[in-house]
Each structure stands twice: as C-alpha cells, then as structure tokens.
C-alpha cells in the first residue's frame, strides 16, 4: 500500500521533471521564446499602465462622488418651524436619500463669507438683512442616483431651487467610461496577440517532440503527464514577460506617487498609496502574464496533441 508521503514524493519528483522539461524548451526555442516574451512584455506594460490609470481614476471619481451634495433652497415664505420640518420629513421619505442636514440662512451666509476669504468680508454687510435662503443639504445614498433624487426634491412644495455639481460628476463618469472601454478593447486585442504568439512558440516545441510524445503515449504515459511540461513552458513565458512590466510599473508609480503628490493642489486628487497598491498591481500583472502563458499553451496542446 502506498501511503501519502510516498505519493507526495512521487508527485514532487514528477513536477520537478515537468519543470526541467518546460524550462529546457524555453531555452531551446531561442528566438521564438524572445518574440513571445516580447509580446507578453508589451501587453503587460500597457495593461499595467492602463490599470494604474484606471484604478486611480476610479478612486478619484469615487472621492468626488462622495462629496456630491444636493443643495435644496427653500422659499422665503416658509414658516420657520412648521413648514421646514414638513419639508425635512418629505426629504427623508424619498428613497435613496442618505442624509439630510438643515442649514439656516445665517449659516449659509457664514459659509459663503468663509469660502470667499478676504473678499468675503464685503458680504458681512448683509448680516442685518440676509438675502440668502434657508437650505437643506441632502446627500444621496448612491451618488449615481443624484439626478433622480434631485428631480424628486424639485417636486416638494416650498422648495425654490435645487443645485448640485452635475457638470463635473457627469463628465468625470463619462470620461471614466470612455477610458475604460478604449483601454479594455486595446488590452483584449493585445492579450490575444500574446496568446497567439505563445501558442505558436509551444507548437514548435510540440513538433520537435513529436517522436518523444509518440513513445510516451505508446508506453502508457497519461495525457496529463504529457501536457504538463507544455503548461509549464507557457507559464514560464508568461512570468518572463511580466518581469520588465512589473519593474517599470513599480518604479514609475513610485516616482509619480512621491514626486507629484505634493505638487498636486486639489484635495480630491488622491493617488492610491504606493504601498500596497504597487504590490497589488504587480501581482495582478504577474497573474495576467501566467494566464496568457497557460492559455497559449492550452490552445496549442489541445490542437496538436489530440491526447
């Protein structure tokens, strides 16, 4: 009877053999290896840059969205207690409304003065006869629902005006979407090119090994045993192709993050922190490289071995 240790030792030995065979082919295929690794490198470089851009853009959009608030200005004729608390109730009863905060016209004026800095002092004159209106600041529970929520608020009696930064939000969301679509299309095309080149490289290995494979089948090697070295070869090609992109993306992001961070003024533009983002991105790049490599080998192995 075979115990577990014996089986594990056997599997390890077999895996060792597959790795040796796979790496030998990587070496032996020479220029084909160089060209397919090159294709993976190009692909992953673009994927890496795009991902870094995309994820940061996402982050920025989310930050901006978080700050989206709807300002609800009230008719001046409303009765201080009765009418205002009615409006507040109605606001709260709208689904998708996250928070509702009352801001009296005095508070509004203070805010205005603050936000204008020195020039704001001029408005202090209005202290006595405040031209502003009482307001509610409403935050939607999901920023993408901003427009619908604003529309519903407009229907409430006693509301004179509804404002929100629709322009910026809409544009940012749209830009985000364009960038994503174009980037994804580009990446998918590149990934397929890389897969194709890898499967061609492995085809060469398979053709060179035809005799060997025939003998393996004849003496009763299992299909899995025959396939493994080719998977390993594809995987190694993917890993080799990931080295330069990872180095480039990590160092590039390091430079960007620590140099530009201080130069960018806007508060809402916050890059994702270098540690852990750079490492997560590296892992992702490596993963995509391995995926490309294995898929490329699966394609050619399936077609050529018919095992």
């Amino acid at each position: 009877m075979m115990n577990i240790e014996v089986i594990t030792a056997m599997k390890l030995r077999t895996m060792g053999r597959h790795f040796r065979e796979g790496s030998k082919s990587v070496w032996r295929n020479g220029w084909m290896t160089v060209s397919s690794v090159g294709a993976v490198t190009t692909t992953l470089l673009l994927v890496g840059v795009f991902l870094a851009l995309m994820l940061n853009l996402n982050q920025i959009t989310q930050e901006v969205e978080k700050d989206v608030e709807i300002k609800v200005l009230l008719d001046r004729t409303l009765q201080e207690d009765k009418d205002i608390s009615r409006v507040e109730k109605e606001l709260n009863s709208i689904s998708d409304v996250g928070s509702v905060e009352f801001s009296s016209k005095e508070q509004e004026l203070e805010r205005l003065i603050e936000s204008m800095g020195d020039e704001g002092k001029a408005f202090e004159l209005f202290d006595q006869s405040n031209p502003l209106k009482d307001a509610f600041v409403v935050k939607p529970s999901d920023p993408t629902d901003t427009m619908e929520v604003a529309d519903k608020i407009r229907g409430i009696e006693g509301v004179s005006e509804v404002n929100y930064g629709e322009e910026i939000v809409q544009r940012l969301l749209q830009f985000n979407e364009y960038a994503r679509t174009i980037g994804l299309a580009l990446i998918i095309a590149l990934v397929f090119t890389a897969i194709f080149l890898i499967s061609n490289t492995i085809k060469i290995t398979i053709i060179a090994r035809k005799k060997e494979i025939g003998i393996m089948k004849l003496v009763g090697a299992t299909n899995g045993f025959i396939r493994w070295p080719f998977f390993i070869e594809g995987m190694l090609l993917g890993i080799l192709g990931a080295i330069i992109p990872i180095a480039a993306v990590v160092s590039g992001y390091y430079y960007l993050y620590y140099n530009l961070r201080d130069k960018i003024q806007f508060e809402f533009i916050q890059l994702l922190p270098f540690d852990p983002f750079a490492w997560q991105l590296s892992l992702l790049i490596l993963g995509i490289g391995v995926f490309i490599g294995i898929w490329g080998s699966v394609m050619s192995v399936r077609k050529f071995l018919k095992v």
Binding site: K211, I215, K217, L218, V219, G220, T222, N223, I226
Partner: protein
C-alpha cells in the same frame, strides 16, 4: 488474452482495411500475422493496443473492451502491452539506458525501481555493455534489441511486434527472433506481423494470414504460404 468478434475497420478516407475478423489468441501464444502488403496486417495489430478503433465489432484485450475503452483509460491498457516497430523508434539524443528508462519515467516509476529494471532488461537483451551508447553508435540489430528492451521493461502480458526484422539482415533477424522466443517462453503473449518467409517457415508457430481484410488462414504450426 485477445478476442476479436466480427471486427470491421473503414478509414475516414473510405478505405476498408478489415472486413469482419474473428480471432482468438490465448495467453502465452506466439502468433505470426502474415499477408500481402496493404491487406490489413498493420490495422489488425494496431487494434490491439488501441492505436486504431474498430468501426464495428468487439476487440477484447486482457478483458478490456477496446471498442468502449474511454480515452483516459488508454494509458492503463498500454502499460500492459509492449510494442516494437520496424524502425525502432528510439530517441536519438538519449543513451540506450535513458531510452529504456524513459518508458518507466513517464509512467512515474521510482528511480530505484527504474535502475533495477533497466539493468535487468539490458541483461535480458544482452546489451549491458552498451548502456551508455547512443542509438546512432549501435548496429540495426542492437537498436532493435533496445526497442524490445523498452517494450518489455514494464513486464507486459502482450508484446506486439510490427515487422521487427524488416530492416535487418537475416543473421541479425535470428538474434531478434531468439530474444522474442525467450520472452514468449517466460509467459508473454507475442503477436508479430512479418513478411519473412524464412522465419515463419523455420519457427513453425501459429500463423494468421490476412487477405483483403479477412482471415484467410489460421493454422497452428503453420507456414508462410506466400512466395518470398
């Protein structure tokens, strides 16, 4: 050991190789398969190790129904069968020892077992002194002995040889035949397709003649029956 019942084989290009074969071969037999070129000899032997699948009929080898054998069960079948070809099919870059060991490595034998069994089988085919040679440094007869060693290193119950002496001179052919006889004497069933009238007529074993995809003759202690 081997049982064929009304076996038909038509290739996808329309060529009919076998036209209703019924054959029974018992464990431990030595069988020659003879017949004109293109009469179905090769197809007949290839059916036995599931290199080909019958179009119709049943092929049983060692109690396994090959017509119904699942793809992933083929390795299990092949490990019970040794195959020898006319052109040896050795790996040119590997030594004699490595060529034989390869057959055990790919079925995941332990290194200890591999060493022992390769040395045993090299002894059996009398090539112990050439273990480190590569195939190109050997004569045709020696190369065929290596390929026989590879076929039997796994102790198969059945050895199939497709014209194993086809590329060899008569003297070397006899060397090969004596090794095959020894293997048969130890209990292994041997099925050998051949064109050699000399060998068949002198060794007087069971002869199955295949013509036009049919068994034309099946005689114990038969002769070749065709002009040489």
């Amino acid at each position: 050991m081997i049982e064929m019942q009304s076996v038909y084989k038509t290739y996808p290009n329309g060529v009919t190789a076998l036209n209703g074969i019924d054959v029974h071969i018992a464990q431990g037999e030595f069988v020659y398969v003879v017949g004109p070129s293109g009469a179905g000899k090769s197809t007949f032997t290839r059916l036995m190790f599931r290199e080909e699948k019958p179009t119709k009929g049943t092929v049983l080898v060692n109690d396994m129904n090959l017509s119904k054998l699942k793809e992933r069960k083929i390795p299990k079948l092949r490990r019970q069968i040794g195959v020898v070809y006319q052109d040896f099919r050795l790996l040119p870059r590997l030594s004699v020892y490595e060529n034989i060991a390869f057959a055990l490595e790919v079925i995941e034998e332990s290194p200890k077992n591999i060493r022992k069994r390769v040395m045993d089988v090299l002894d059996q085919v009398r090539l112990k002194n050439k273990a480190r040679f590569i195939p190109d440094e050997l004569s045709g007869g020696e190369q065929q002995r290596v390929s026989i060693a590879r076929a039997i290193v796994n102790h198969p119950k059945l050895l199939i040889a497709d014209e194993p002496t086809g590329n060899l001179d008569p003297e070397t052919s006899w060397e090969i035949m004596s090794i095959l006889e020894e293997i048969n004497a130890s209990g292994t069933t041997v099925v050998m397709a051949t064109h050699s009238k000399d060998i068949v007529d002198k060794m007087r074993k069971r002869v199955i003649a295949i013509e036009d995809g049919l068994v034309a003759r099946d005689e114990h202690r038969g002769d070749y029956g065709y002009e040489a």
